[in-house]
Symmetry: D3
Subunit: 286 residues, 6 copies
Amino acid sequence: MEMYIEKAKVLVEALPYIKEFYGKTVVIKYGGSAMVDEMIKETVIQDIILMKLVGINPVIVHGGGPDINKILKQMDKKSEFVNGLRVTDQETMEIVEMVLAGKVNKSIVSHIQNQGINAVGISGKDGATLQAEKKLVNGMDVGFVGEVVNVNTELISTLIQKDFIPVIAPIGIDKEGNSYNINADYAAVAVAGALKAQKLVFLTDVEGVLKDVSDSSSIISRLSIKDVDEYIKNGIISGGMIPKVECCVEGVKKGVKTVHILDGRVEHCLLLEIFTQKGVGTMIEE
Amino acid sequence: MEMYIEKAKVLVEALPYIKEFYGKTVVIKYGGSAMVDEMIKETVIQDIILMKLVGINPVIVHGGGPDINKILKQMDKKSEFVNGLRVTDQETMEIVEMVLAGKVNKSIVSHIQNQGINAVGISGKDGATLQAEKKLVNGMDVGFVGEVVNVNTELISTLIQKDFIPVIAPIGIDKEGNSYNINADYAAVAVAGALKAQKLVFLTDVEGVLKDVSDSSSIISRLSIKDVDEYIKNGIISGGMIPKVECCVEGVKKGVKTVHILDGRVEHCLLLEIFTQKGVGTMIEE
Amino acid sequence: MEMYIEKAKVLVEALPYIKEFYGKTVVIKYGGSAMVDEMIKETVIQDIILMKLVGINPVIVHGGGPDINKILKQMDKKSEFVNGLRVTDQETMEIVEMVLAGKVNKSIVSHIQNQGINAVGISGKDGATLQAEKKLVNGMDVGFVGEVVNVNTELISTLIQKDFIPVIAPIGIDKEGNSYNINADYAAVAVAGALKAQKLVFLTDVEGVLKDVSDSSSIISRLSIKDVDEYIKNGIISGGMIPKVECCVEGVKKGVKTVHILDGRVEHCLLLEIFTQKGVGTMIEE
Amino acid sequence: MEMYIEKAKVLVEALPYIKEFYGKTVVIKYGGSAMVDEMIKETVIQDIILMKLVGINPVIVHGGGPDINKILKQMDKKSEFVNGLRVTDQETMEIVEMVLAGKVNKSIVSHIQNQGINAVGISGKDGATLQAEKKLVNGMDVGFVGEVVNVNTELISTLIQKDFIPVIAPIGIDKEGNSYNINADYAAVAVAGALKAQKLVFLTDVEGVLKDVSDSSSIISRLSIKDVDEYIKNGIISGGMIPKVECCVEGVKKGVKTVHILDGRVEHCLLLEIFTQKGVGTMIEE
Amino acid sequence: MEMYIEKAKVLVEALPYIKEFYGKTVVIKYGGSAMVDEMIKETVIQDIILMKLVGINPVIVHGGGPDINKILKQMDKKSEFVNGLRVTDQETMEIVEMVLAGKVNKSIVSHIQNQGINAVGISGKDGATLQAEKKLVNGMDVGFVGEVVNVNTELISTLIQKDFIPVIAPIGIDKEGNSYNINADYAAVAVAGALKAQKLVFLTDVEGVLKDVSDSSSIISRLSIKDVDEYIKNGIISGGMIPKVECCVEGVKKGVKTVHILDGRVEHCLLLEIFTQKGVGTMIEE
Amino acid sequence: MEMYIEKAKVLVEALPYIKEFYGKTVVIKYGGSAMVDEMIKETVIQDIILMKLVGINPVIVHGGGPDINKILKQMDKKSEFVNGLRVTDQETMEIVEMVLAGKVNKSIVSHIQNQGINAVGISGKDGATLQAEKKLVNGMDVGFVGEVVNVNTELISTLIQKDFIPVIAPIGIDKEGNSYNINADYAAVAVAGALKAQKLVFLTDVEGVLKDVSDSSSIISRLSIKDVDEYIKNGIISGGMIPKVECCVEGVKKGVKTVHILDGRVEHCLLLEIFTQKGVGTMIEE
């Protein structure tokens, strides 16, 4: 009985957080290990369902790199390169879309439906949700790589309102109906900004922003967008962390309250972030 | 970190229960020790708020014996007795109403509001919610003691719909506008039946229905209403437990899915009952 | 037959007034003789019900001095005094709340329900309607005497919309859930201001503002808030009338169209004010 | 002051009637003297507006005999006769429609709008409200004389819901779009029946049904539809009163609660009927 | 089969126009030959019904000159003249109203209902839709000739929303309830402006604005309101075309997107204008 | 000009059909040549958009055989066979789902969005729309081949209501979250039945049901479900046409008004069927 009372107390500890985020929208960029490790995957889905049930509106934007590469390879599709950059030609784009919208996306939907909660998987083409344009990479045309120029939130909002969890594959559509491959991080920022989300959470394979990369205890818990430039200049934020942090800054600028870099390798990292006083990862805010 | 992950797991364990009771109405008869002991009181309120936040609609019906007696005594109000029964004369009734609707009721509202959740305290007179008639006790007219003849759920439903937690003092009103003192257990049954509640929970000062009154481990976890007569006949259910169990049976007959006799002296007994597999107390069902 | 036709003509005379106030909110501060004299009480209730039925939304804020004093005395509660001011200690506050919210409030509800119209009695604690803070009286802390710092109109508006007449006891609540005794006049002003009421009516025991206090025919029918200072300076408004008139001025400043000091000792004074060309009492406006 | 208090009392006397008819629909067949005498006309309009303002939904169906005859004469339109029956040929029908829908109907609308209340004049053709077929008179085809075969209440209900008073000219339309002259009494019965009206009131030029036609004090206040045959057989109901009473009976059979034959020559007869205990005219009920 | 495929292609050609005008309001001033010639009349009604069915909201404002003159003559009503201007005295006004609201208006309603689509004929008096004042003509009081000072769109909007096609007779009402004859062109402009219509279409008896009046091929397809003064000065727009074009300019100024002068003598001219690339008549825009 | 008037007449000819199907749901099983030939594809999309714009609610269920085979081949996926039946193993199922939901489905969405109309592509897993179970083929377990046991119309209805065109890939989901390949014809029947559609249209590569297979002029235009057995017995319906017709019969039995076998190779065959009197293909009805 004692054990159960302890459990009840844990539930009660979550109360203030549940109150705080009730009715708010949380966009989750789902990718990396959290999408590969079956056990972590299960806990991520559980976390998202719990969020939904206690009144939060989760919206999932996913990537899908490993699956794309696997299928491209299986289909013996060779990549062209221009000045060292891989080109997304028409055929590659079709495969990318097929994998993201038909395989990765529907797999997430299955996992959620499996728990008895309704999810709807869409790509950014459905309802012209992610309106895109070709994006030059380092000034180069590398094919059907796009950036979001407008988010039409009508479909997402309809799904949220009717209590479906939206699961979004980062495929954009232009005015001619062409498909574009969108970087999933950017897609998540665009969606979170358009929805004026309370939180945007990146599930990554790092602990967060570290002061000393070799010391995981040196994590920076909160980061103001004003400090980011400074940190980049003095090299604290460096390498692959730079575009990730810049994504976070853009999210805040577009109206997201807080953006989080979480360690997706930690079980229940979403719940830890949202429902406990244990800050995990790095939070970027105004 | 491990500790926090354990906590997250506890939250996740509650998932199937949250899903099961989402959007359902749970009527809580609040009385006894759970209303006297300050610490227990606090946990009861926390439990109710958690229920509200995860999408359950709690409705509270409260008693108030100790406060009534205290104030009657303070006001030097002597009771009349007829054939050994205490008579609720006009003056007593006014005091009873004043204490229940003005003191006990508002105190519960304070505790809930104090947590940032909206509660509204009403008596059964407001919106003619508890329509009552005089009730003879053992064939005797003992004054303004009434029984509920109809529940007008309009006000309660409005409050639920607008996300206020209704807190109901068991005062009835008749067609001439007279006030009646209603037994809080019966009031709770009437309200739960009229709302077709999922659960009706009695917070009591006993462990539940015991097979052997001297052995608290002999608790009967589930009781079908068909078995109750049998149990009364062979003396397993006896004494003060008889009217309590009969109340439960009436609740089930009026359309409440399950009625529970919980031990209000156990911390978080409401959460234990609703969100864990640990059955506490006795559940009466069809 | 002639008599009946005359009666019909009276109804028709009310037409322009009914049209003017259709769908408007009228806050009635109910107190004084109008609450004590049984006959007058009956006519006040009738007037309020008629207002409701012809499409006006009445909201009642009541006082309760005589009952409070009576019960305090009955309970043998002695008052402390600090610098000559009566102190509302915790115990007194509990009694005040009990009497206002449990006795006076519910008695008004009974009278209205008795006419077949739905009323709901609330205190300012319900739904955190009257959010209060401690108020110093002449710079002195005299206990749980409060002033309204915010009115949360959500509950009142819900009740109005669902056609319940709200009856409000002037008890405030602070962020810690403490109860405060609020002056009923001020509570009425706060409520009327927050609702942007069309009218705020004080039922008092005087004819209105008189130019010559000894001559009841010297009543001032209309008073602009600009003139009030002048009238106070030159002594036309004096004594106990000053705070009452200042209340009225504050009501107008908070957005109430017109504030009225009516003679609650006159039968049907509410109807006379609202439905006939016979101005009764004094009207304060911008 | 006394006088005003008396007036307030008259308003209060109307309370139970206002409560009884709140939200109910009352269909008024407007014709005869009440439509000709300017003074009576004014009081009828006032009565209807008062009904509207206290929450009743009045619906007006009007006749227009005198105007039709006047215009026919002015236009020098000679009537054909077949076996002694006047024939409504195409040209006559056009004039009848023009006068009813363009003159009488709009004149009533003007009078109501003039009081600041919104009215909308329609004919039975608008929104295919009165769907009609040719009616043989004594087995004879007398042209565009029709009977209602169906009432499409959609337009009337829309107008009521949006707080417009519907004013209906008794013109029917058949499936080919032809116009038909409908007897206004029958049109009123059809409309009241389709709306399941609370009351259907005929404003006539008689006191009601009299036991002795020469003695206006012999009025029959209430008449059950079961008694009507008897009364016709024994000659108490005779002559022109027979079709009128049969109309009333049909109304009751179609679901109207009570049907009234009122003396439209009496000022405010509508208010007298609805808001006072003075029964005027004859009421026919189940 | 080929023929049917061609027909399907014609439907498909209309697609972009249907999309463009979906949900938009189009006000049609219906008058001239299009209202006299039975065959054209039929096609105008068909065009309006098609517009309705593909999601456009047509609103009809009609004139009625020929019918008015015919009835005035039939009724032997002589016109007074003051300084050469015909005076609309009370009696004439009544006839005008009767003809417009009771004959012309209801005839259009019949034609539409006949196609199974719901129409509601109103005059500007219904719901106080066209609020008018007396208008002096060349400084002269010529009786009940009015101009619109305000359009109350409540009734029209209600009808549109409930899928009735509004058909409006150009009769205005002033604050005293007097009727006024309103020029139908001006009434149409007032209605279209108040509704912020997408299009206002005048069905006229001319091809449109011609550069050379004697050459119907010299039609001006588009005219900016800035060019109108110039065209009037240099005589290209002259005579009766001047007030018509000025009406159009006023429409644009009041917020109508485009105003059209169409040749109502051409079959299906409405459809040609709206659903094909064949511009017919002259379009006036900002 | 003459040509345009002819075009307008074609539009007008469609009027009665537009009226008949306004607000009705039409399910289109899209497959075969109509999905392969680019030109036909374009006209099918145009037809569907026109249907949408004139107020019909189209719902698309598509197949995707050729694409599936192409990708399976490209991915070098060999099929297992059991007793001569191809087995849909886990890996094949994943590819099938990926192609149907990620390639074919999104391609249709692109084509519709390209016309400026909102479409949303879902699979039967989204919102648990197509709830399925394993289906034995000739008593054999051939892997993830399923049949629909329930259609949850909530998502489809939400999309229709918000004016998105639903495009459905025939993938089912069972209670464990497994995916199943559903025959597209059966999926269309299940969806149409659950929606109580007005029409279910199969776009096929045959003219319809022919009396003499070698004579395309021998087409049977209407077929009652009562006659089907007879026709199968006497060999008129034979071979591959039998399951197709049985599908149609099941659709009618499930509540679809009419089911159509259309020749998808004919341009605009959908418009021809719906908007012209030219019946194309075979219609099966009760």
